[in-house]
């Protein structure tokens, strides 16, 4: 299939019952396009970590995806507290998550590093008090990293 496709999922902060459903749906869409499993796994993991960040920290947000024959692009835009120091947030193990988030198995400071690990390109823009936009791109041409 060579046509482009795109779509959007809306995310609600603290809605842990549905946390991960956007990434799950995205995974299904990628599978239907016949994209190689290893690339789908990378895209799904990156999307899931980014989705959990919105659910954990923000009031609300959206996940927008664009799939072309060359790339998978996912943009997560949220209304949240923003990230004061992105460099610090990118460090493995650095986290500001409260204990109840850690008890759910998240907030161990691996979220953004995990997105970076799985994406070919990662861009983070954040304004404290307004929100954060996380954009990542995964190449579909060869396994390209």
């Amino acid at each position: 299939m060579t046509v482009n496709s795109d779509g959007v999922f809306f995310l609600t902060g603290k809605d842990f019952a549905n946390a991960g459903s956007a990434s799950s749906n995205l995974k299904g869409i990628l599978e239907k396009r016949g994209i190689p499993a290893e690339i789908i796994r990378r895209a799904s993991i990156a999307a899931f970590e980014a989705e959990m960040n919105v659910i954990i920290y923000a009031v609300a947000g959206m996940m927008h995806y664009t799939i072309t024959p060359e790339t998978i692009k996912v943009v997560l835009q949220d209304m949240g507290p923003g990230i004061p120091d992105i460099g610090l947030a990118m460090q493995e193990g650095y986290s500001t998550a409260p204990d109840y988030i850690r008890e759910m198995g998240f907030g161990s400071g691996m979220g953004l590093p995990n997105i970076k690990r799985n994406a070919d390109k990662l861009t983070i823009n954040s304004v404290v008090g307004e929100g954060t936009t996380v954009e990542f791109v995964i190449s579909l041409e060869r396994s390209g990293r």
Partner: protein, 118 residues
Amino acid sequence: MTLDDIKVILGALSLTGRGDMEIDIGRAYCADLMSDVLAFSVTNSLLITGLTNAQVVRTAEVADIKAIVFVQNKRPDIQTIAMAEAKNIPLFVTELSMFDTCGRLYERGLRSQMGPTV
């Protein structure tokens, strides 16, 4: 090692009904931190965990994990079990501790993503 083998080795109980018990499980990963699972686990592996919330099943789904063993007789709620059924991810529960669960499977040849294949 098949899921049937794992079930016997751990004296585990199936929480999900369907699923292919003959699936070959080559690797295993053990953690309560889901981000560690997302970072370090490998595809088609077994997840051993003490965490029982819905995010464990989501994590398994996105990371292509084949099955989950809950240790220490911890059981997820019915919604989480239903989600696993829908996504065809078999769930098991064992009375063994996490240490003993890993130990018994290791003894029988199961390895993590790092170690040599046996």
